[in-house]
């Protein structure tokens, strides 16, 4: 297997007495779907936030393309080519989908108007419509604010935002949790397309059939540490679930 693109080792993080991560390890390679699974409260979202620069770790090391890096804020993560679909989606509900897709990287008009910060709303709207079409999202009213969309439509907005901007690694924290059958299939197609373009995809999901279907590798987090990792082809759903719930003997812990 190639060098990991992103590798975290010994990550620790506590919240007011709760030890969310107790020396967690994680790695993802270019062009693969790595599933990060674990029970509720295992620390998956916390790890994702740390690797996205949203949360500062208490300790541990992050390596990116072989170099040790710090990811002190979301901009640093973005500059590394990391994008994230957060579990809480991190959308601005009062803004429309295009504004959310381009949040923090708004397109401005050419020339002097652009220097003054005038937005190119038409161009942003066009590119948003295209991104949504790619994901099979049909919105009747793209000017409506995100708060008025259905839960699944909102999730789709967050997914297409990450997919639009990612260049190296995309974290997807339960990207299909609120989606219907058709939309989930669209997101699964998108994940495969993104992976096939050489990007690393980190998929967090409680939907084990989905994990088994999509993942190339599976890493299992339990109580804030990685307890197992598998090549998806060489393992069964029962094995993974056993590792997640701690039913596995300690000797099998990686």
């Amino acid at each position: 297997m190639s060098e990991p693109l992103l590798e975290a080792s010994g990550i620790t993080k506590s919240f007011a007495g709760v030890r969310a991560l107790r020396g967690a390890d994680f790695a993802v390679h270019p062009g693969e779907v790595a599933a990060l699974v674990g029970d509720n409260g295992a620390g998956k979202s916390t790890l994702v936030k740390i690797l996205s620069g949203t949360l500062a770790p208490d300790g541990g090391e992050i390596r990116f393309e072989g170099r040790q890096v710090a990811v002190p804020n979301p901009v640093a993560a973005r500059e590394l080519g990391i994008e994230t679909v957060y579990q809480d989606l991190a959308l601005a509900p009062e803004l429309d989908p295009a504004a959310n897709l381009f949040l923090g990287r708004e397109l401005v008009r050419p020339g002097l108007l652009g220097k003054l910060g005038f937005l190119d709303k038409a161009a942003m709207r066009r590119r948003t419509n295209k991104a949504f079409a790619d994901l099979g999202i049909g919105l009747q009213d793209t000017g409506a604010m995100v708060a008025n969309l259905s839960g699944g439509q909102r999730q789709s907005v967050a997914v297409s935002r990450a997919a639009t901007w990612v260049s190296k690694v995309v974290f997807m924290d339960e990207p299909t949790a609120a989606l219907g059958v058709v939309q989930s299939a669209h997101v699964r197609d998108l994940i495969r397309r993104v992976r096939d373009s050489g990007i690393a995809v980190v998929l967090i999901s409680h939907n084990m059939p989905e994990v088994m279907e999509l993942a190339d590798r599976i890493e299992v987090l339990r109580l804030g540490v990685r307890v197992a990792r598998y090549q998806a082809a060489d393992t069964t759903m029962e094995q993974v679930i056993a590792a997640m719930t701690g039913a596995l003997g300690d000797e099998e812990v990686a």
């Binding site: 601005a92 401005v108 937005l119 009747q140 009213d141 708060a147 008025n148």
Partner: protein, 349 residues
């Protein structure tokens, strides 16, 4: 106000206008906005007074007076619109207005001579003083993480107290006469300078809010500050800029007041903050952040102003204006709340 139509045009989305369903959806959105309703209320009030006392009410002279009287409040309210859209509040504006006026007057008197040099120095000093209070507000809100209500309540007292300390509680008079005769009461083509200044501030504010990145970040932070942060927006820096803008505009309103009245009017601005907040909220801006327009604020400023004026003309006790505005304010916020609740129900579905 001559800029009303311009602002409306600027507020429209040019994109996708050819798409009929998009137009219908946009129209439906517009009709359900609080701003639309308050604008209709404003039109109704104007029509009512015009019907009752056309000769006295619907005159150029009368409207000129209403606009000139409202100019200072309008300038403050534009800044307040930005602040409230970030889900903040600025209670200090009236005190900052007074403080800026005192600083400007003192500087003009210190330089002396009554020429434009002294006037310009005083105006710059006043604007800098207002901006400085705004920066103090912004830094305390973002870096010290004290809620804006408390921060600006504190600086309300500090700015007014400082103004009283500097002046010994006595209004500073004797600012250069030229300031009053030109900016204060002068007119350009029949429009008072103070109205032109307020209209320019309003137009720039409306365009900035609806068409620029600065405005977009203002909405985004009020809508979901954590999402804005995760999107790489420097939330603290932007909030400091917004509070600085509010302070700067309070300072500018102080300069307008100084020019009109040729004195610092220390005691006359204790409810400016509430008047500005009421205007902004009447205009459809949500106290929860993320929603609002400068155009709405213009409407919100003129409802009380025209009610006051009309009641005086009708010979109704003008105190009714306060009662009426209070009631309209509560109704506006009630509608906003209803919409929010409907939305939250939608989210859980």
């Amino acid at each position: 106000m001559s800029d009303l139509t311009e602002v409306t045009a600027a507020d429209e989305e040019p994109a996708e206008a050819s798409e009929p369903s998009g137009v219908r959806a946009a129209l439906r959105r517009r009709l359900t906005e609080t701003t639309t309703w308050t604008f209709l209320i404003l039109l109704g009030i104007v029509a009512g007074f015009a019907a009752l006392r056309f000769q006295q009410f619907a005159t150029v002279f009368n409207f000129r007076n209403i606009a000139a009287d409202a100019s200072g409040l309008l300038i403050i309210a534009v800044g307040m619109t930005f602040v409230i859209i970030t889900a903040g509040i600025d209670l200090s504006v009236g005190s900052v207005l007074v403080f800026s006026g005192v600083i400007a007057a003192k500087v003009m008197l210190a330089i002396g001579g009554g020429g434009w040099g002294a006037i310009a120095a005083g105006l710059v000093a006043g604007l800098v003083a207002g901006t400085a209070w705004g920066v103090v507000n912004g830094v305390l809100v973002t870096k010290a993480r004290v809620p804006p209500l408390i921060v600006t309540l504190g600086t309300l007292g500090m700015a007014l107290g400082s103004a009283l300390l500097i002046t010994g509680g006595i209004d500073v008079r004797g600012v250069p006469l030229q300031l009053t005769t030109t900016i204060g009461i002068g007119q350009l083509a029949g429009v008072p300078y103070v109205v032109i200044i307020a209209a320019a501030v309003t137009a720039v504010g409306a365009v900035t809010l609806s068409m620029t990145r600065f405005g977009r970040y203002t909405y985004a932070i009020g809508s979901n500050a954590e999402a804005a942060r995760r999107a790489g927006i420097n939330v603290d820096r932007h909030l400091i800029k917004v509070y600085a803008l509010s302070g700067f505009l309070a300072g500018m309103a102080g300069m307008v007041s100084l020019a009109r009245f040729a004195t610092t009017t220390i005691g006359g601005h204790s409810t400016d903050n509430l008047a500005a907040i009421a205007a902004v909220v009447l205009g459809g801006t949500s106290l929860f952040g993320g929603i609002g327009t400068v155009l709405g604020t213009v409407v919100g400023v003129f409802i009380p102003a025209i009610l006051q004026n009309g009641f005086v003309i009708l010979g109704v006790q003008p105190f009714w204006q306060q009662v009426a505005v209070g009631a309209v304010l509560i109704i506006a916020v009630y509608i906003d709340q209803l919409k929010r609740r409907a939305q939250e129900r939608g989210e859980r579905r």
